[in-house]
């Protein structure tokens, strides 16, 4: 077995909170699904584009008030109690994930502004948010969390 040696001069901060990663996965699935419905659906029925600004609102609201995070609440109130999705608590910090969600919300808000005058830009930005959510869902790579780490390293936010 590899031994994790903290060493006498090392400072290792251990996250003592538990984050349910199933809630995060449900959230990412919700983002990917909503963007795809808006993206493909708008080719046939243009009003479906309204899903993009709605998703931006949901993500931004959920960032600042977790009780308003629609997809996570759907998981906690419906999927988890009925055993449809099993909980997966991991020792982690919620801040980087919230930051990533907020970043997604900001990108979708910007995309919403462009949807009418420059639909290609608006749709491309929405698609990028969906791609990043999918990468996080499938491979566990969270770009927003990496940006959070970089900002913490630069001393712009308190990351530890």
């Amino acid at each position: 077995m590899g031994q994790l040696d903290q060493g006498p001069h090392r400072e290792v901060v251990v996250a003592n909170q538990l984050v349910d990663h199933s809630a995060l996965k449900v959230n990412q699935t919700g983002i990917v699904t909503t963007v795809l419905i808006a993206f493909i659906g708008s080719a046939f029925y243009r009003p479906l584009l309204v899903l993009i600004p709605l998703l931006a609102i949901v993500l931004l609201l959920g960032t600042f008030a977790p009780q308003l995070a629609l997809f996570k609440q759907f998981y906690f109130k419906v999927l988890k109690p009925r055993g449809i999705v099993k909980p997966r608590p991991v020792q982690d910090r919620p801040e980087p994930h919230n930051f990533a969600q907020g970043l997604g919300g900001v990108f979708l808000a910007v995309a919403s502004v462009f949807l009418i005058p420059l639909p290609v830009v608006g749709l491309a930005l929405s698609l990028l948010v969906a791609v990043l959510a999918f990468v996080n869902l499938a491979f566990g790579y969270c770009l927003g969390c990496q940006i959070y780490f970089q900002l913490g390293k630069a001393g712009l936010i308190k990351a530890s």
Binding site: D5, S42, A124, L128, K153
Partner: protein, 134 residues
């Protein structure tokens, strides 16, 4: 439908550009950290840079490190120990560095490194040690 196709093309170009940038960034960081040193030890060891906001570290990297044989792994908080992290140009988490006993960086892995990859790098480091002592 035309707007959707153009949007796919634009998003594809952005993703491709980001992937190329990431490859370039990792190569540059690897070149810059070549020759960087940490403390010496009796055997090759691993520096494991992590942070308490790094999920992949806990879900992927730590289980991979636990699969390794009897090897010393120094777990370092990349933000708390910034000087050491900067020495190895740690720009992403997790980052693992395989060091020779004299503390020289032999391999720097930016991002998740699998157990077989780390084992191979450690075996190489031990091989270098045996060649040096022979």
């Amino acid at each position: 439908m035309n707007a959707q196709l153009w949007a796919v093309a634009v998003a594809g170009i952005v993703v491709l550009a980001a992937a190329c940038l990431e490859i370039f960034r990792a190569r540059r960081a690897r070149l810059q950290s070549a020759g960087a040193t940490a403390e010496s030890a009796s055997e090759p060891y691993i520096l494991y840079f992590t942070g308490d906001g790094c999920t992949v570290c806990r879900t992927h990297q730590e289980p991979a490190l636990a699969k390794l044989g009897d090897v010393r792994i120094d777990k370092v908080d990349a933000i708390a120990d910034r000087a050491l992290a900067d020495r190895f140009h740690v720009y992403t988490l997790p980052t693992t560095v395989v060091l020779s006993p004299d503390g020289h960086a032999l391999h720097v892995n930016y991002g998740y490194a699998t157990a077989p990859k780390l084992e191979r790098q450690l075996a190489e480091a031990r091989g270098t040690l045996q060649t040096a002592t022979a």
